[in-house]
Symmetry: C2
């Protein structure tokens, strides 16, 4: 089945994907950090039974995290299907994963239930509708910890209320290269949103890809939060497009794009950092129409040539140079066949 991240969605030249994450807990059980292995197993089984017995049961696989090879777990984290912490979680934690990987439900992560829906492009309301439908269905068979005044109860108080984190993944090469992103980030935080690098720990912005998400979950409805995030996303998209259109008119910047494409089509060894840097240039070239490449091909490579995902595909943990060789080969194959 085709994976959601291969598609190009709304505003797909800049918005790679949309994610909605709902945190839920079951009233009868303490939060996962207060549960022993047996308790976590019970919670995971309870949710699994609720999903399996529902109309969507057949679309999901149930995966006990300890049964998952490490490279596969890390690959899922790279693809943002699970959190990096959850990739290393122990006995009792489990994952319900939709076959097309568009829905994942982490069981006994920070909360009992972390329901996550992903869609290509800008699709906040569509993704929320899907999440809401699954959430309503689970609500019918589980007793959620809920308080009339403060909404859904979550382990971390920053999630109280809607317990919804909505985010979009944005490719902002022009705003990054012209240094305008830092000013933008300051404005964004005043609007109740936060922006951070979507790839790599700390380094911030590998591939000029960022995650923009809502921060406020208390005293606001889901719809209002989505409307706010959607409107600001569209403003950033317009801004990026305008700056990029100017940037590619500069001969030396245009040259960088074509060179990046030339290197991607020919290199025999490529580190992930270099790939992300070159892929960003090529993606901007494709998005602005100076390179005739389907943007989905770039999106797909950004997902498939990450280190753990290469290891997972090869079924073993490779030495960096062997991985750099496989990465270069995958990249060549894709770009020499478009």
């Amino acid at each position: 089945m085709s994976k959601w991240y291969i598609e190009k969605g709304e505003q797909g030249d800049i918005v790679l994907s949309t994610r909605i994450r709902l945190a839920r807990n079951i009233e009868e059980y303490p939060f996962p950090s207060k549960l022993d292995i047996e308790g976590r197993r019970k919670v995971s089984k309870t949710v699994h039974d609720a999903v399996a017995g529902s109309s969507i049961g057949r679309d999901f696989s149930y995966i006990e995290m300890t049964s998952l090879p490490r490279s596969q777990a890390l690959s899922m984290a790279e693809r943002h299907l699970i959190s990096p912490e959850f990739a290393c979680s122990g006995e009792g934690s489990a994952l319900l994963l939709a076959n097309d990987e568009s829905v994942s439900i982490m069981l006994c992560e920070e909360d009992h239930i972390r329901l996550q829906v992903m869609k290509a492009g800008l699709a906040l309301h569509e993704a929320f509708d899907t999440a809401d439908r699954i959430d309503t269905m689970l609500d019918n068979s589980l007793h959620y910890a809920f308080n009339e005044r403060i909404g859904y109860l979550t382990q971390c108080p920053t999630n109280l209320g809607t317990a919804m984190r909505a985010s979009v993944m944005l490719h902002l090469p022009a705003l990054t290269k012209t240094g305008r992103l830092s000013a933008l980030a300051a404005t964004i935080s005043k609007l109740g949103l936060t922006i951070r690098g979507a790839y790599g720990e700390g380094s911030g912005s590998k591939g000029d890809i960022y995650q923009l998400s809502n921060q406020i979950t208390l005293g606001i409805t889901e719809q209002a939060a989505l409307d706010n995030l959607s409107a600001i996303t569209l403003q950033i998209v317009t801004h990026e497009r305008a700056v990029a259109a100017e940037l590619i008119k500069i001969p030396s910047e245009e040259d960088k794009i074509f060179r990046a494409y030339g290197i991607l089509k020919s290199a025999r060894l490529m580190s992930n950092d270099e790939f992300m840097e070159l892929a960003s240039l090529v993606r901007m070239g494709a998005a602005r129409g100076i390179l005739d490449i389907p943007i989905e091909k770039v999106n797909e490579l950004i997902v498939t040539v990450q280190p753990a995902t290469i290891n997972a595909a090869q079924g073993k943990s490779l030495e960096p140079q062997a991985r750099d060789q496989i990465r270069a080969q995958s990249v060549r194959e894709v770009f020499n066949n478009v």
Copy 2:
């Protein structure tokens, strides 16, 4: 008419070309530096008449150096058809140039006559035979300054004797990159030869291309000098091939070759220094069979995208960025059509 430098000759993977240069002076006149404009004109006309009246007269154009646009004169120097000093020479100096540019006769350079024959690949004896035939023909109608004991008289005493400078242009990327060339250069000088960078002043070895030439002209016959140079050239060629074969087995070195090719096929702006660096890698890849490119295409580009040659082709002196754009375009056109 196809130019000699487009061909691939003997040992053509490493030997780009062979050059024989004979210095001659006419007995009745002082050396050019002692001549006024009128005297230089007379000498040039005398030699011109001798060539025009001979069987090869039709193959040559007679060019007064002051009538030549500066960009064309500099382009000829880049193509090693004339010396850089001669490109800037004044009234009275002239050039006899064969239509295929394989023979050039500088008139009133340092000596009255500097007869130069170039051939593709390693062809020392063939090039000398051609030079010798033209020299014999001129000798029939001119009175050369010649002394039984010290041979041909030349302005600079280092040329006395045979007054022959024989040289081969060698592409030695592997010996350069592995640092073995400096040791080799020391050995070479003990054998009466000298090696120096063929492109660029001072910088030494743009594109890893070197000129290897004989130093000794006194007390040695032309044939002995040619045999010596030929034998040492073959030894260097064998050495370069062996080191290159090892070098390209290293994945990171192989990667550099493919990247260089990728950049050459895609860049929109390219300086001459960068071109020479990348062309050297690609030429090594073509020479060692890992890139499927006719080596003549690389040879031709090395000649045609030099700065003054681009200016000459455009008929004007361009700004560096405009030239970098034309260079990148020429390079792309050649490599995307092989």
